[in-house]
């Protein structure tokens, strides 16, 4: 018979305001096996934990129930407490009387009654608990960073600096990501390339870092410390080790009409190309959709001009398999499509551009070589209208926009407006805003400078319609403070499009079994306390794949993710989860049904000799669970007809006992 102690937490008034904690402690005293029951202000505090420790010693407790907040909050705390008092840490059960009781019910009698029932269920369960010991598994001391933007770059550099090997997988031919496309950065106005490209070079030169550019992750198996990852290296038709990046091929390639994605299609590149001058790796790539040689077998100009002999038209996709101890998602963002916002005439006029396109129009390496010209006629725009929150904070229609604030638009629009006025003082610049959000170091000062020093017209209101008419864009908008409808003849309209997670994030999350929110941002293990970890062990989050962020935030989060990875990789062994499946060999039929449903391949079979009651022996096929591989989902336990397969910590009997206690 177990000797159970019950500890009811007040959580200040969080619980005690709606649950009569004393009554709960009192009621649970009479449950079978309970030998001690008490309540305390804050069970998780040192003093509270001491009460538990003392009670374990004094009453020789074999199991404890803590009625408190969610086990997701403090189960580990109390397990450690139990262990410190010499009790197996799995002899602890939590009754969640805060999140699932006091916080969701209004009156004291209801709350108290439910808390008692939840307590009884926990007592019933702990009565059937058995001490569990976690197994151990080794750690592969290598990290994988998925995404080679500023987030991935920073994470990889920090991990590599700590002495661990890191691989970066980037889908584009070069690392650099969105930051490489930016002109200047707010609020300091440093040139993005000037601060990013040295880091890219550092990555290329770091011996601990390998770059798999033009590659993607196609399969992930395993678990924390032991991931098996398959990386597809797409055929780039240029041998990376031979190409010197001289660029001769990209000048001679006769196929000149390929939309240049680096400049968002606002100019053209060749079929063989290096995305931009500072690309890393600085290696040419052949675009198979446009290369005449690959499509028709006729041409071969690049091969002829390549003195290094790097061109390989026969190249095939290659698959690399590698083991990793930790994986960092750094898949980044994209501006949303403007298709559904044609009231702004994005599809009707080339002079309606997104902010990222504007960034390229301002950039010295952009399609206009840094002179701000209208895409339609290459004339200087004299009136520019910036529209904020296009698709951000938009809750009316999920396929149209995003409900969240994209966070970076207010600041980059201020930057664009300011830079425009700085370079071209003869230009009228209007910014239509709903709110200007500038919570960041030196951010509001920056925005105020745009208004006060650079004379940008900030108008509280929204553009309702843009009508291209002749060379002009007729902008119809509201000025809420003047209570007027404005009609502005603009030359260029810039839309601050909402940002969304890259489309590759969703399939990646599925491969990682990492959870995502409704917007396809990765979910963090805890929104405040574990912001760079995924709830899936061994998976870490860096940059905008977790939520909208500017560059300083991304870099600091990238560093934080790196430090978590370093912490994991510096361990030699990981303690596993002892709540794993276990098959009772006497009951097992060896039918293989359990192995059919196991997502981890943790179940194997062996023939074992059994002694029969009549002293004969019999060979039987039985299931064996690999405890290091089993993650404890319990799917096999339901597939098992005879009930031979059970899940430690969540045994059939325990769950039934909980159900019984609730239904009593």
């Amino acid at each position: 018979m177990q000797r159970i102690g019950v500890f009811v937490c007040h959580c200040g008034t969080n619980i005690a305001a709606t649950v009569d904690v004393k009554a709960v402690a009192e009621a649970l005293k009479s449950e079978p096996g309970v030998v001690f029951s008490t309540d305390y202000q804050y069970m998780c505090s040192q003093a509270g934990q001491d009460i538990i420790k003392n009670a374990i010693a004094e009453h020789k407790l074999t199991g404890i129930v803590v009625c408190s907040c969610s086990p997701r909050m403090h189960e580990n705390t109390f397990r450690k407490t139990a262990a410190a008092a010499g009790l197996n840490s799995y002899m602890v059960e939590i009754a969640n009387i805060r999140e699932q009781c006091s916080w969701v019910h209004k009156d004291m009698p209801t709350g108290t009654e439910k808390a008692i029932i939840l307590g009884k269920a926990a007592v019933a369960k702990v009565s059937l608990n058995a001490p569990l010991t976690p197994g151990e598994s080794p750690v592969t001391k290598r990290a994988l960073v998925i995404g080679g933007g500023i987030a991935g770059i920073q994470t990889a550099l920090d991990i590599a600096d700590a002495g661990f090997p890191v691989d970066i997988v980037e889908t584009k031919p070069t690392i650099g990501g969105k930051m490489a496309q930016l002109d200047k950065t707010f609020p300091t106005l440093d040139c993005a390339a000037c601060i990013l490209t040295p880091k890219m070079v550092e990555v290329a030169q770091n011996e601990n870092i390998r770059i798999f550019s033009y590659s993607e992750v196609t399969d992930i198996k395993g678990f924390v410390g032991n991931f098996d990852v398959t990386i597809k290296r797409r055929a780039r038709y240029v041998k990376e080790d031979l190409c010197t990046g001289c660029g001769a091929c990209t000048e001679k390639c006769p196929q000149k009409k390929v939309p240049n994605e680096f400049n968002l299609g606002m100019d053209n590149r060749r079929a063989i190309y290096i995305p931009f001058a500072q690309a890393v790796p600085k290696v040419a790539t052949i675009d198979p959709n446009y290369c005449t040689m690959l499509k028709t077998g006729k041409c071969g100009v690049c091969s002829k001009v390549c003195t290094a002999g790097a061109i390989d038209y026969q190249a095939k996709d290659e698959f690399v398999e590698e083991k990793y101890g930790a994986i960092v998602a750094a898949t980044g963002f994209n501006p949303i499509s403007m298709d559904k916002f044609d009231e702004f005439a994005y599809s009707q006029s080339p002079d309606v551009v997104t902010s990222l396109e504007f960034e390229r129009l301002m950039n010295a390496a952009g399609p206009t070589a840094g002179t701000l010209l209208r895409p339609s006629d290459h004339e200087h725009p004299h009136t520019i209208v910036f529209v904020q929150c296009v698709g951000s904070r938009c809750s009316s229609c999920a396929e149209k926009g995003k409900e969240y604030c994209s966070k970076i638009c207010c600041m980059y629009t201020a930057k664009h407006a300011m830079l425009t006025r700085d370079k071209y003082p003869d230009t009228d610049v209007y910014v239509f805003y709903i709110d200007v959000r500038t919570p960041g170091k030196a951010f509001d000062e920056f925005y105020r400078r745009a208004v006060e020093d650079y004379g940008v017209h900030y108008i509280k209101g929204m553009v309702g319609k843009v009508v291209p008419e002749g060379k002009k864009l007729k902008v119809q908008a509201s000025d809420l403070l003047a209570n007027k409808q404005l009609h502005i003849d603009a030359d260029l309209v810039v839309l601050a499009a909402a940002i969304e997670p890259d489309k590759s994030a969703r399939p990646l999350a599925t491969m990682l079994t990492a959870s995502m929110d409704t917007n396809d941002f990765f979910t963090e293990a805890h929104p405040k306390l574990r912001p760079v970890e995924s709830p899936t062990a061994g998976v870490f989050l860096s940059g905008t794949c977790q939520g909208p962020k500017d560059i300083p935030e991304t870099v600091s989060q990238a560093g934080a993710a790196a430090s978590k990875v370093i912490g994991l990789l510096s361990k030699d062994k990981l303690t596993g989860n002892p709540c794993v499946a276990h098959s009772d060999e006497n009951m097992c039929n060896g039918c293989s049904t359990c192995a059919n449903v196991c997502p981890y391949g943790a179940i194997t079979y062996q023939d074992k000799e059994f002694r029969m009651p009549d002293r004969t022996t019999k060979m039987r096929r039985i299931a064996v669970v690999n405890e290091a591989v089993c993650q404890g989902c319990g799917c096999c336990t339901v597939a098992c007809m005879s009930g031979a397969m059970d899940l430690k910590g969540f045994m059939n009997k325990q769950i039934m006992a909980e159900v019984d206690a609730i239904c009593k």
């Binding site: 009231e343 009316s396 209101g461 553009v463 309702g464 319609k465 119809q476 509201s478």
Partner: protein, 130 residues
Amino acid sequence: MLNKTERQKEQILRSSGVNPLKCMRCGKCSGTCPSYDEMEYHPHQFVYMVETGDIETLMKSDSIYKCLSCFACVDRCPRGVEPAKLVEAVRLMAIRQKDANHLTPNDIPALLDDETPQQLLMSAMRKYSK
């Protein structure tokens, strides 16, 4: 007991099915409204004035007859507030009062020409009288 303002607001909200609290005051409705210049109170003001219960003022304003029910504000509102439905609810409240029809059959002949489609008369009667 609700006072008159609260009663009116309650009725407008129920009849329109609109929740003005969803408004984030961006003004896109007024930015897009084709009848803006004809209106004394503009779509975003309708939303705010209903929220604050200032319905009597709206009922007395000619603005309620200037709305074209083109629903541009409804479709373009980022928050799904549907200002046009508020305008309509206020207009209905106004014309449902005794002898408050904005248009009566007697007014019509003077407004017609040879080509006037039935549709116009029908919709005008629907919109302006009870």
